[in-house]
Symmetry: C2
Subunit: 100 residues, 2 copies
């Protein structure tokens, strides 16, 4: 299991521009057969800070996602409105709770 | 609904020290009646970078969590091994997928 956090930082004047692009990206990605979870949140202190929380079975599934038509078309369309580089963290280990 | 990402950065020589503290914190928090989700992951590129992905009904529930005995005891015990300040992002807006 691969958990992913991907963060984008969008210029304030372009938030309304990117919202429909994000909505299309989320809708299309959720239809990918290998997608376990793909949800997009907004920082309550910064409306241009968008955060994806994703779950994929493995790295190969994430690579398939990144090669899809919708990803290849929509991500560059969104990124032209970035105010700074995005940030991505891949996490494949969960710390299980204590069993006692 | 309140989604939270909380990140800690632990000194490499103290990772083994904090793991049982994290396990106890996750186990105790999952038993809180208001906790919807509280999972801890590790950055696959940085074993000292711990990431909580949390879900609470609202800010008041998060405040209750931060006031619990286990939080008040375990978080300072973990934080003494930090190599840099942690980072927390509160997110209360989800971008719903396009409906068409």
């Amino acid at each position: 299991m691969l958990k992913v956090i991907a963060e984008d930082f969008i210029k304030p004047e372009h938030i309304e521009t990117v919202l429909p692009l994000y909505r299309e990206l989320v809708a299309a990605t959720k239809q990918e057969p290998l997608c376990i979870a793909y949800d997009l949140f907004i920082d309550e202190k910064d409306p241009g800070h968008f955060i994806f929380i994703e779950e994929w079975p493995d790295r190969a599934a994430l690579d398939v996602h990144c090669a899809t038509e919708h990803f290849q078309r929509l991500v560059p369309a969104i990124n032209q409105y970035q105010r700074q580089d995005g940030r991505i963290v891949l996490m494949d280990t969960v710390v299980s709770p204590a069993t006692n």
